[in-house]
């Protein structure tokens, strides 16, 4: 979404210890942290990040506690009001803060304490950009606290590659649920990845070259590098999975994809959508039943997507975000017309 979120990061690679110290516990999996209310991952650089995509972390109380495990920073980002701020704690004590609040200071940031030295470079760069285009209605300073946070802990919302995100919740909010024999992650490995392999894709786990893809697959077909990115979530309450896809003009991941999009499951009948909360409440439709449907829909979507990428055949549930179906069909026809095509 237009980012409206907050997050905290602790310089500690022990995710379980960090979660326990903050009264949180894992509830499931999500491939994109911005699709969960609360998500957590440990980054390759050893920082553990907890993200709230809807701004629900109480940083004032959590940061001092988190900083007992190591240096801790908290960041707030709202692209709706264009506020951004980062603050740091060490050993339970406030260390520094940098905030941009356009309602108070439209052109600049407020600094408290002694932030890291890279802030001066960041502000200099922002100042140059603003001076170069003074008439643009752009909030250049909005990026400064976010960029500073990224320079400290390596996290940037929605841009982390190959992180394994868990959905988390405060222990007090977690309802006891029976242990599940089958999860979405298990189904992806057992039922989705083999399907992708049978269609000529090279399935990957945790090695994709684009953000927010933990389960993915790629291949070169007709001279185009193509990818599939599985977008899903299973936190014990909500389950979904759908593949997004794309293709580059050539055989390498260079520049912009020629085309990118998603295949969505057909909408449920209106009466089913209207009665969904009731059926959930009364247990008429259990998690396993929903999981079966989600996996079945995803398998059909992969077949549809494969037909589009190989034959240019569109389906009603295909949605193109970048380029158009015609762009891709033209690219396929051009390959066919080429000598030896």
């Amino acid at each position: 979404m237009g980012l409206h979120m907050n997050w905290l990061a602790v310089e500690c690679g022990d995710k379980d210890a960090v979660l326990t110290s903050l009264g949180l516990q894992e509830t499931g999996w999500v491939n994109d942290e911005l699709r969960a209310q609360l998500a957590c991952a440990t980054l390759p650089n050893g920082w553990t990040v907890i993200v709230s995509s809807d701004y629900r972390l109480e940083l004032e109380s959590l940061l001092p506690a988190a900083s007992a495990k190591g240096r801790a920073i908290g960041c707030e980002v709202s692209e709706i009001v264009m506020y951004s701020g980062v603050r740091a704690y060490q050993d339970g004590e406030f260390a520094w803060a940098v905030t941009h609040d356009p309602d108070k200071e439209r052109y600049g940031v407020a600094v408290n304490g002694e932030p890291p030295s890279q802030l001066s470079d960041i502000l200099a760069k922002v100042g140059e950009l603003a001076a170069a285009e003074p008439d643009e209605p752009v909030d250049w300073w909005f990026d400064a606290p976010v960029e500073l946070a990224r320079s400290v802990c390596g996290y940037e919302a929605g841009a982390v590659q190959n992180a394994e995100w868990s959905t988390v919740a405060f222990a007090a909010d977690v309802r006891s649920a029976p242990r599940r024999e089958r999860t979405l992650r298990g189904a992806i490995r057992a039922e989705i990845m083999p399907l992708l392999g049978s269609l000529g894709w090279e399935p990957r786990v945790g090695k994709a070259e684009w953000p927010n893809a933990f389960y993915s697959a790629s291949r070169v077909h007709d001279g185009h590098l193509q990818f599939v990115n599985l977008v899903g979530k299973d936190d014990g309450e909500d389950v979904y999975l759908f593949p997004s896809f794309g293709a580059w003009p050539g055989e390498a991941n260079e520049g912009d994809p020629l085309i990118a999009g998603e295949v969505r499951a057909a909408h449920a009948a209106i009466w089913k959508r209207l009665t969904k909360p009731w059926r959930r409440l009364t247990g008429k439709r259990g998690l396993d039943e929903r999981l079966d449907q989600v996996v079945g829909d995803a398998q059909r979507a992969i077949v549809d997507m494969n037909e589009f990428l190989t034959l240019g055949r569109t389906s009603p549930n295909l949605r193109i975000d970048l380029g158009s179906a015609q762009v891709w069909i033209d690219a396929l026809l051009a390959k066919d017309d080429a000598p030896g095509g």
């Binding site: 409206h4 701004y55 009001v81 209605p137 990026d143 929605g158 997004s244």
Partner: protein
């Protein structure tokens, strides 16, 4: 000599007459400003100003009040045009001077923010009319009066007029005044009564004061909201606006969208088919760098909805004015 004396008397008489006219106009204005309680207020002040009357203050007060009521009646009988001018001035002058406008500095919307569409104006008119009719209906029930279609329609006309005035950027105070005036006028007309300027003036003033106050409260409240709540408010208003424009946002997880030819992406607040929506709330909200880029690359699909606390003021001003108009007293047989 006689002629001169006659001229002098004529001049003095004219002066006296002019003074009486001004006095009647002033009393008319004060009567409107005090919602018809000028006599009570004046009697109270006169009683307080006489220290010898402490032991008999109740009697003194009642005497003063009778005198003031008689004065009003005299003005109505002998100086009705002047009194009417005063009553109108009692509404119009404060509207011109204040209009219930905020002391908060107001900033324009972002350049390129979507302008109000005809559908939005139509929906707002209907909503304003509904609010006006609803408030009138509930007010009748609360006062123990039989609700009637005439009263409901008068309330609806007031609410719709309020919205139209808001669209003309008159502000919640002035628009509330128009609401009160239109509702009072329509109620008289629909009930087959002659239009009472006194009641129209009082309705206008009450609508202006309460509508303006409600609007100002809404403006300050929304401007003082926390960042999280402001964001939620902005997204909620944005979702309503897209729906009114026939583009209901898809109930799907929000994803990032690539910006063609740049290697960058942005996350819209909502989407409908190939249309993307970005919501902003607040006086200081600009675009981010990538949002600017997305709009520049594909302006036809980028819909920017920028809301201000002034919009919340307008939203709350309409029911405020409708309620205020109901609170205006119905005196002297109205």
């Amino acid at each position: 000599m006689l002629a001169a004396r006659g001229g002098e008397e004529g001049f003095t008489g004219a002066l006296r007459e002019a003074g009486a006219q001004v006095g009647a106009a002033s009393r008319g204005a004060l009567d409107t400003l005090t919602f018809g309680h000028r006599d009570t207020l004046a009697a109270g002040l006169e009683t307080l100003a006489d220290p010898s009357s402490l032991s008999t203050w109740r009697t003194q007060y009642q005497n003063h009040r009778r005198q003031e009521a008689a004065q009003d009646q005299y003005d109505i009988t002998h100086y009705e045009p002047a009194r009417t001018v005063g009553q109108v001035a009692g509404v119009v002058v404060p509207m011109i001077l204040t209009g219930g406008e905020s002391a908060l500095a107001s900033a324009p919307r972002l350049a390129g923010a979507a302008a109000r569409t005809g559908r939005e104006f139509g929906a707002a008119l209907a909503a304003g009319g509904g609010v006006g009719a609803g408030v009138q209906h509930v007010s009748d029930l609360v006062r123990g009066r039989q609700p009637s279609w005439q009263s409901d329609l008068a309330g609806a006309a007031g609410g719709a007029a309020d919205v139209a005035a808001l669209a003309a950027r008159l502000g919640p105070g002035r628009a509330g005044g128009i609401n009160g005036a239109v509702a009072a006028t329509m109620e008289d007309l629909l009930n087959g009564r002659p239009v009472s300027l006194e009641r129209v003036s009082q309705g206008a003033l009450a609508g202006q004061v309460i509508g303006g106050a409600a609007g100002e409260l809404g403006r300050r409240w929304s401007n003082a909201l926390g960042r999280r709540a402001k964001g939620q408010l902005g997204e909620m208003l944005g979702a309503v606006r897209s729906a009114v424009n026939g583009m209901p946002r898809e109930a799907v997880p929000k994803t990032s969208v690539s910006i063609k030819g740049t290697g960058k992406s942005w996350r819209p607040d909502g989407r409908w088919g190939g249309q993307f929506f970005e919501d902003k709330f607040g006086y200081g909200a600009d675009l981010s760098r990538n949002q600017r880029l997305a709009r520049r690359i594909d302006p036809g699909t980028f819909n920017l909805y920028h809301f201000l606390p002034d919009d919340i003021a307008a939203l709350l001003g309409v029911p405020g004015a409708a309620t205020g108009q109901q609170a205006a007293p119905r005196r002297r047989g109205q």
